[in-house]
């Protein structure tokens, strides 16, 4: 790869003998895919013992930059300097050797291996005879899990863990190593506040130890809480890097998005009517002892709160027909029996699952195919062929409404940034008119503020037009500001209900953790 190494660049990039040595520096780093530039001449320096937030819209190039630093991609040109030495080999093993570790945006569990093996693969302990010291490794894994207050059996198969727990495992993997540079690509996107606290605790420890941390997140409130500096990326370029204390949230957003966002959340209109759309009675999800009963009305956004592992996702999957359950579900008064996703879709239920890579999108298919997959019957003409012109038109329309950044409709979804993939998972349900019931499980995971306000408006408008919305989210402001009503779940059961006037973060947390509503 053509990596420039001329003198002037090197000195700019932090090879200067005088002054404190940056842990990480780039000089004029460039990268493009298919001739489309994704990183444009990025130059920046990051010091040891600091937490640096990278802020930028979906598709700005944050993950691409992280992948270059962690050796998963090679830059087209420019210099990457780690701890004062230019990097010439781009390979994950090499990067690890240099003391770089990463929490990738797309989680990388090895589902068929156990939790302890997932935690420790690549840094095994081996006896003199070459055998694994399994007991020691297991104890180490247990210690790490306990450190993060995770009640997970190290012997459990990884496959059993949900997204949030998987995310925590990635966090442990990256932070428990003696790394000097730790890259965190949206580590908190599926965490609830409790786990996020654990993450922040680990970050502070790392910082105290002198590690340099790069952090991305679309949750604006986290920036202020955790970071020392903020670097703002737009369209593949660094447009500003400054100490956090000198910036306001508003400034950051404006820089990122290139426009002012007045209100993230739409002004709520009162107006959920009393027509029940979804009625759930004594509904028991396989594997959970408790049963649930609730109703979602037309035009209502019903929020589902709870800690990670509360069983929200399982409940939503069961309602959509992905999971076995007993009990009574009615849609518009008619009983829904023997459900499957295909039937649910036909009945007008839309579902955005929590894990986009696993279930939300098909990364090997094109954007066009992904968006129209659930509605192909509607696009099929008399001869049995799919009407491409019609579906292209509709797809273009929803992509515009969700502010999705892409190159071509035929582009495969794997080549989109994480946030834009999430937009695809959402956009596909907006293609044909409006659904009756919209089930959203962490719908804005990884979506930038700009698009988020847009999407909130969309959800809100849908509700206003009479759609019933069931929304599970670990993002508290989102849950509180969008929902008409919030059910808090715990251990698969509904621990309590909060009406709009009574909603606040503590109230939700108290219920989620098993305390009563009013106990202070």
């Amino acid at each position: 790869m053509p990596v420039q190494t001329d003198e002037s660049n090197s000195s700019e990039a932090g090879l200067r003998p005088d002054g404190p040595k940056p842990a990480l520096a780039f000089n004029r780093l460039c990268k493009s895919f298919d001739g489309i530039p994704v990183l444009r001449e990025i130059t920046a320096r990051f010091m040891p013992g600091t937490v640096n937030v990278l802020a930028g819209e979906n598709g700005a190039g944050k993950s691409t930059l992280f992948k270059i630093i962690s050796g998963q991609l090679a830059p087209d040109s420019g210099i990457l300097v780690v701890k004062g030495a230019p990097v010439l080999t781009f390979d994950p093993r090499h990067a690890r050797g240099l003391g770089v570790s990463i929490i990738p945006q797309e989680l990388l569990p090895i589902p068929d291996m156990k939790v302890w093996q997932n935690l420790l693969v690549g840094r095994e302990r081996v006896s003199a005879l070459g055998f694994l010291k399994r007991r020691e490794m297991m104890a180490e894994a247990r210690r790490l899990l306990e450190e993060f207050h995770l009640d997970i059996d190290p012997e459990a198969p990884m496959r059993r863990l949900g997204v949030a727990a998987t995310q925590m495992i990635e966090i442990i993997k990256a932070t428990s190593r003696d790394s000097d540079v730790v890259l965190m690509d949206e580590p908190s996107s599926s965490l609830s506040s409790r786990e996020t606290e654990e993450l922040f605790r680990a970050i502070r420890l790392l910082r105290a130890r002198g590690a340099c941390i790069l952090y991305t997140s679309h949750r604006m409130e986290e920036i202020e809480q955790i970071s020392d500096t903020v670097a703002i990326m737009r369209d593949g370029a660094f447009i500003r890097q400054a100490p956090t204390s000198t910036l306001t949230e508003r400034q950051i957003i404006t820089d990122m998005v290139g426009r002012d966002i007045e209100d993230l959340f739409p002004n709520r209109v009162i107006g959920a009517n009393r027509t029940p759309v979804l009625e759930v009675r004594d509904f028991k999800v396989a594997g959970y002892p408790a049963s649930t009963s609730f109703t979602v009305h037309a035009g209502e956004i019903l929020g589902l709160g709870g800690l990670v592992g509360a069983g929200r996702s399982e409940l939503l999957e069961a309602i959509f027909g992905l999971r076995k359950a007993d009990g009574d579900i009615r849609l518009d008064g008619a009983p829904v029996a023997g459900s499957s996703p295909a039937k649910s879709i036909r009945r007008g239920i839309a579902f955005v699952p929590e894990d986009r890579k696993l279930a939300g999108v098909l990364t090997s298919l094109s954007i066009l195919d992904n968006v129209t997959l659930p509605h192909l019957a509607g696009f099929t003409g008399g001869a049995g062929f799919v009407d491409n012109a019609a579906r292209r038109a509709r797809t273009l329309d929803v992509l515009r409404r969700t502010r999705t950044k892409y190159a071509r409709l035929g582009q495969i979804v794997a080549h989109l940034s994480g946030g834009n993939q999430q937009k695809i998972a959402l956009a596909r349900w907006l293609v044909t008119g409006t659904p009756r019931l919209l089930i959203l499980d962490e719908p804005t995971r990884g979506i930038d503020v700009g698009a988020r306000s847009e999407i909130y408006q969309l959800i809100h408008d849908l509700a206003a037009s009479g759609v019933a919305v069931l929304l599970a989210s670990s993002d508290m402001p989102e849950l509180i500001n969008l929902s008409h009503r919030i059910l808090v779940m715990r251990g698969g059961a509904i621990a309590g209900e909060l009406t709009r006037d009574a909603v606040n973060q503590e109230g939700i947390l108290r219920l989620a953790m098993g305390k009563t509503k009013d106990a202070a």
Binding site: V361, T363, S364, L365, T380
Partner: protein
Amino acid sequence: MQPDRATIPSGDLAAPTPVRTRVDVRALLLRYALVIVLFVFVGVLGVSNASFFTLSNFNVVLLQVSTNALLATGATYVILTGGIDLSVGSVVGMSGVVAAMVAQRDGLPWSTAAVAAGVAAGGAVGLLNGSLVAVARVPAFVATLGTMTIALGIAYVLSDGQPISGLSDAFLAVSDHFYGFPVPVLLMVAAVVVSWLLLSRTRLGLHIYATGGNPQAARVAGVNLRAIRLTVYTISGLLAGLAGVVLASRATAGIATTGTGYELNAIAAAVIGGISLMGGRGSIFGTVFGFMIIGVLDNGLNILNVSPFYQLIIKGAIIIGAVFIDSTLNRKDD
């Protein structure tokens, strides 16, 4: 293996991006390397032996590949869903025997019935495969390995190990000409064209790609995985049955062992053509190049009168080389 994302160029899936929606320049470019390989090979053959570049030899090649073409087309469906069908070789033999048993009687109705019976026998095994995979959840490799053995056993039992011969002329005409075109070649062309339309232009086709690309996500998007899997194995079985009928007609007998080993050739054609065994990736045109390369190789090496021992070595090396060039070129493109 895990689905490979292009963001990490680990190259675990060497197959290129599927281009299914149009026969465009990009599709041709993506299959560039295989086209080059095929043409270079044809060129070398043509120069080294005059008899290669004749219309009648072109006909011969098409006739020779027609069986594998039918099977490879079936394999394409199955592999696109992430499955595999090892039973087709035995099904060729079995449906040939079944058809031959009916075709011993004279007359057009009987020979029509013979064709129908042979194709139906293949379809029945395909349906069984599909049920085992989609409903009973037996891994495709084991299910179709089992039915491969069973179908061969049935063919033996039905024929008592003897060729079933003495077939009516009407049945023998099945492998003959139709308005000047050899019927097996016409069937091959029909199978490819229909499959192209089906895979790239219909809902079923997209659902097949989705099933292979990510079954869970496909299910969430409303794809009926069970129906799709049943369908692809049945199609594969039907095409194998058809191939068996054509072969029985050409060999003037139904012979139980006729198709032994054909399954590997069919899968090879698809995989050489870039259909990923992980599912969800590749196009029927890739398969066409796959079986054409194999066919031209076989024919060409015979025409050059290469010793059969060295034919094996050369054939293996060329196939590996073709796919290597193909995947290397496409990786850059990717």
